[in-house]
């Protein structure tokens, strides 16, 4: 029963590696969320546009992404794409996987934001005879934006925590770093606990930031 001792010396040797991993984790999250926000925009536009075959297919596609696990999607990007001549680095596969998987919930967020704009706003625009472009860009989207921003913040925080799965496709992010050290030393308590603490610190602080966004959104809404 040696496991009960908490070795601070070991913790200090672990932390530099973990911070190295945290950089990759943050990079993957930032890239993944930017692409997810863009992809989500495309899905939302296609779904709302009411194009005969394409809109229902996009709906099906989005629910397919939402109905399947991230881990298997990640494997798909990492192992299957190269068979079709699309060889991506592990990091790129990870970012593509994150972007793809999160584009679906992001699209739902956009849709909810747009559909949440009060019907009176549409009616008023119609009555005033505003051009469609101006209705969208000056009336509907700015209002939707305020509702959507905090939700996207929450999505990004979920993504941040889910990047731990990128360790399964050989990316040396936070989780992978911790497991490498833990396996080599056969001491799991310190690295695995510190990883948890790091995830917690970043996501807790970010969540506080999102809470602030929510307040801002509520105050202006």
């Amino acid at each position: 029963m040696t496991g009960f001792q908490w070795d601070w010396g070991y913790v200090w040797t672990v932390i530099p590696h973990l911070l190295e991993g945290l950089k990759i984790t943050v990079a993957a999250t930032v890239l993944g969320s930017v692409f997810a926000f863009l992809l989500g925009l495309i899905w939302t536009a296609l779904r709302l546009a009411n194009i005969p075959i394409i809109s229902p297919l996009t709906n099906l596609w989005v629910s397919f992404i939402r109905g399947t696990p991230f881990l298997v999607q990640l494997y798909f990007v990492f192992y299957v794409f190269p068979n079709y001549g699309l060889t991506l680095s592990a990091m790129m596969s990870g970012v593509v996987g994150l972007a793809l998987f999160y584009s679906a919930p992001v699209s739902e967020v956009y849709r909810a934001g747009i559909e949440g704009v009060a019907p009176g706003q549409w009616e008023a625009s119609l009555t005033l005879g505003l051009p469609i472009r101006r209705v969208w860009f000056r009336i509907v989207l700015p209002q939707a934006f305020r509702v959507v921003t905090p939700m996207l913040g929450n999505t990004t925080i979920s993504m941040f925590k889910e990047t731990a799965l990128l360790s399964t496709i050989t990316i040396a992010e936070l989780m992978a770093q911790a497991m490498d050290i833990a396996m080599a030393q056969y001491r799991f308590i310190e690295p695995l606990t510190m990883v948890g603490v790091l995830y917690f610190c970043v996501s807790y602080i970010s969540a506080k930031g999102v809470r602030g966004l929510e307040k801002w959104s509520a105050a202006r809404g």
């Binding site: 009960f4 546009a49 881990l71 798909f76 990883v195 996501s203």
Partner: protein
Amino acid sequence: MGHTLWEYQPFLLKGIPITLTVMTLAMLLAIPTALILALGRMSKYAVIRSLAGFVIETFRGTSALVQLFWAFYVLPFFGLELTPMQAGIIVLGLNEGSYFSEVIRPALGSVLAGQRDAAIALHLPTRYRFFRVVLPQALPVMIPPFGNALVGMLKFTSLVSLVTLQDLSFRAGLIRATLGESGPTFTETLILYFIMALMLGGLVKVLERWVNRRAGRPVAPLSLAWKRNTPVPTWALGGR
């Protein structure tokens, strides 16, 4: 060599009952966890409120994979050996329970406000108040988020493959490693998950109708329409 994915079908499909077992048991753990945590957060005692808050924030703030690995690799050092199945169910259940508690808290809270005062005024015992007054009214409101949580849990279970439990994802990964046919294997796996998600979604729809009917709430007519009704007017979508 010379093996095909076809020969591995029984092996792959045997992952489905394991995936569904983990999902069901973890969900059975998640629901009472969520209820207890949500009630804890609404407790009149500050100690219980902050304790529940601490548990919720811990499970929500650290990655689920970290929690799973912690349960699998660290707990044995404390003399607590968990099988992959047990570790998976406990971690997924507590994790999802923490998330779900935040989802159902507004539902409970919405009922609590006036109804609780009325129940107190009528001198109904605490347990009666919760099980006969609050819960039956909160239940219909909770069903749609429950459906989301259930499908979320289905996808979530793929994590247990990383602690060597032979669920659907694990078997797909193993077939890829031995057979090399990653394309068909993972495509089939994704489709299997999607079908299960669709079926669970349908099941929850049926449950929702049943609960609504029993609660005397309006029951929406069943429809299989892909086309959703959007409040966005057609003229704004370049409609003709």
